[in-house]
């Protein structure tokens, strides 16, 4: 009992005048201030700085000079940018649905398997733990022509023609996307499994008593109740595919971004503009565009998938 009294006398009028609840709030904010300050310095300040840089012609070797929206005009007229933009949209538009449908199908069936359940789950999760760069190199070798490429060796042994994969302007993007989907699959499967387990068994029992078919159970019970999980995964994996870099960079390192920019995503273009050509202002403008795209896509998805 003596402690609070002591505090009240030594802590001054302000502190002493606060109720216990208020004090808790003050303490909470004191602790929260650390991450907020950290974020402001490490995240928000550079973000604002990037917006400013996008209006300059800074090239690392000169003082930045204000050029207004010239960088954005250049971007609008840049053929490579539109190709890259198209690639980025393709990564998102193919990657997200394919990976989600795959992950759900696997999780749905894995949920019913008791035998070796943990082992199979671990097998799916393993690629998620692997370094993206290492995995990209392994796949890069899978795609090589005969005699070292596994896939082409296989095709060839069945008498089928070899495929160019990474060296083709049409096949390169799906070839890069495949390992990216595979790598994220384990994580999505585990999240889906957790979501499936969280659905109360009573709903299923009730449905079965009513003699409802499996398909109807899936459509009317499982999927609607999985909605929060699906929203989370859609947003999470969309952001992932929009920011794809490691796989592309490592699988096409000789000619970064694939033949004729066939696989180049926005992030790789930003990297090259900034750290190979040192056009920092132009790179900042591209970053601003990526930021806005990410923002728009995230908002749109949250809106569309929100409960009606």
């Amino acid at each position: 009992m003596s402690m609070p009294i002591q505090q009240e006398t030594s802590g001054g009028r302000f502190w002493g005048g606060l109720s216990l609840r208020r004090k808790q709030v003050v303490w909470a904010w004191t602790f929260l201030a650390v991450p907020i300050l950290f974020y402001a310095l490490i995240r928000f300040y550079p973000t604002v700085e990037a917006f400013y840089l996008s209006t300059t012609n800074w090239n690392l070797f000169s003082k930045p000079g204000f050029v207004g929206l010239a960088n954005f005009q250049r971007l609008w007229a840049d053929v490579v940018f539109w190709q890259v933009f198209r690639n980025t949209v393709l990564y998102l538009a193919i990657g997200t649905p394919v990976s989600l449908i795959l992950a759900f199908t696997i999780a749905y069936h894995l949920d019913r398997v008791r035998f070796l359940h943990g082992f199979i789950r671990a097998l799916y999760f393993l690629p998620f733990l692997t370094t993206a760069a290492a995995m990209a190199w392994v796949w890069r070798w899978f795609y090589q022509p005969v005699p070292i490429g596994m896939i082409n060796d296989l095709l060839s042994s069945f008498g089928l023609p070899q495929q160019p994969f990474l060296r083709s302007t049409s096949q390169a993007l799906p070839s890069v996307l495949a390992p990216a989907i595979w790598a994220g699959l384990g994580f999505q499967v585990v999240i889906f499994l957790a979501g499936l387990r969280a659905i109360p068994n009573t709903y299923y029992e009730a449905a079965r008593i009513d003699g409802v078919s499996n398909l109807t159970i899936l459509r009317r019970i499982t999927i609607p109740l999985l909605k929060p999980t699906i929203i989370f995964l859609v947003v999470f994996s969309s952001i992932g595919f929009l920011r794809i870099f490691d796989q592309v960079y490592n699988m096409t390192s000789g000619d970064p971004g694939g033949p004729l920019n066939a696989t180049k995503p926005l992030v790789l273009m930003i990297y090259q503009t900034a750290f190979s050509s040192f056009e920092m202002g132009y790179a900042a403008a591209q970053t601003v565009v990526l930021f806005l795209v990410l923002l728009a896509v995230s908002f749109l998805q949250l809106r569309l998938l929100r409960d009606r």
Partner: protein, 419 residues
């Protein structure tokens, strides 16, 4: 009080002594990127330099290649960083424009001496009559060939191709395919992202009577008859003769290393990597001459330069150090440690070096080499890669592809020179 004063005085005196001693020894800082052999060679050079100049200390700092330029750009304008710096010759214009480096003082490095004693490719370091940097070592291209595969094909392993017609003939004889027509071993590697884009631009194009750029390097001039002829010749290696295939074994050097390519074109910097090959014997030859005997080669190099930072006695120390690392003694050490060729004619063309079966062909090439002046190395390289990809993947006509490439590269040059 007295004791305290005495102590203070003593402190001041000893402080003075320390700073006095520091004033006698000058410390300068040297920067280069991380590459084991280069670091080893430079450490040895610094040791020798400090032994000969006991009042100068050299601090040796290295950074990974990927961060190297960014670090320099951050440090130098802030008055930090190196006094003597190593940079790729292709970065010179950016470094000069940003005032990162100063012209080499004429008293220690008279232009007449440089032009007399160094290989002519060093002229790429000259801007408005002033030299801005000097290399210790230079690199050129040569043809590496697999003697075992030559023998198996019934060719004389002591006779590499001397002309491009012989090269095509020998490539045809050494190419191996399985029953389904899949390539098992290439006659010659086709690797534009490797060194082939230099081979095409500075060798094949010139051998067909063309030139990549105008004399002042401001105009792209390869969109020509010679350009189309040379590009078609190169593309036909895959399209018509099928003696090579882009992407075979992933990279040209990997194919050669694995013994699955009879010939490859690569630089002297590859000697270290190929030195580890145990499975077969390989040889080096000068790049094959053109139909009329014309020879041409591509040389590149890293130079040492004095940054804008040092003045007074630091500048004097930097000059001495620069002079030492570009001396014949340093060049011989660099050749033996790193495998790169001396940049001074006299140091390079000793009887021993010229007759060396491996160094010889690279050294001979330096007399007819061109050092391309790049303004945006990555951007210009990408233009070349796109050009060959349009021809080989999209079957675009060589002339149309050249025109597109020339336009794109001209835009890069214009953007740089209008600044």
């Amino acid at each position: 009080m007295r004791g305290f004063r005495g102590m203070l005085l003593g402190l001041l005196v000893s402080f003075g002594a320390v700073t006095g001693a520091a004033a006698q020894t000058v410390e300068i800082e040297y920067w280069q990127y991380v590459f084991d052999a280069r670091i080893k060679a430079m450490n040895e050079l610094i040791k020798r330099f400090e032994a000969a100049n006991p009042n100068i200390k050299v601090k040796h700092t290295t950074f990974p290649y990927a961060d190297y330029q960014t670090k320099i750009a951050a440090a130098v304008p802030a008055g930090q960083g190196p006094d003597v710096v190593q940079l790729f010759y292709g970065w010179l214009d950016n470094f000069v424009a940003a005032k990162f480096i100063q012209p080499l003082p004429r008293d220690a490095f008279p232009p007449a001496m440089i032009e007399k004693e160094f290989y002519p490719i060093v002229s790429a370091m000259k801007r408005d009559g002033e030299y801005y940097g000097l290399p210790t070592a230079v690199r050129s291209l040569a043809l590496f060939y697999n003697k075992k595969l030559f023998q198996e094909a019934g060719l004389d392993p002591a006779k590499p191709p001397a002309t491009i017609d012989e090269l095509l003939d020998m490539a045809k004889k050494t190419t191996k395919r399985d029953a389904a027509g899949n390539m098992l071993s290439a006659g010659i590697t086709l690797d534009f992202p490797g060194q082939d884009y230099h081979w095409w631009r500075e060798t094949l194009l010139r051998q067909n009577g063309g030139a990549p750029y105008s004399d002042d390097n401001r105009k792209v001039t390869y969109d020509s008859e010679a350009g189309a002829k040379s590009l078609n010749w190169y593309a036909d290696l895959q399209r018509v003769h099928k003696v090579g295939q882009v992407g075979f074994m992933d990279e040209g050097q990997a194919a050669f290393r694995a013994g699955r390519a009879a010939m490859t074109i690569d630089g002297s910097f590859r000697l270290g990597g190929f030195g580890a090959i145990k499975a077969f014997e390989w040889g080096v030859a000068e790049l094959p001459a053109g139909a009329d005997g014309k020879k041409a080669n591509f040389a590149s190099y890293w130079v040492n330069a004095i940054t804008a930072k040092p003045t007074g006695e630091k500048l004097e120390a930097a000059k001495k150090f620069m002079a030492f690392v570009t001396s014949p003694e340093a060049m011989q050490l660099w050749l033996e440690t790193v495998g790169e060729l001396p940049a001074r004619k006299a140091a390079a063309e000793t009887e021993k070096n010229l007759n060396h079966p491996i160094y010889g062909p690279f050294l001979k090439a330096l007399n007819y080499s061109y050092a391309t002046v790049f303004v945006d190395e990555m951007g210009q390289r990408q233009v070349s890669l796109d050009m060959i990809n349009r021809v080989l993947i999209q079957n675009q006509d060589a002339k149309a592809s050249l025109a597109e490439a020339a336009k794109a590269e001209q835009a890069i040059l214009d953007k740089f020179y209008k600044k």
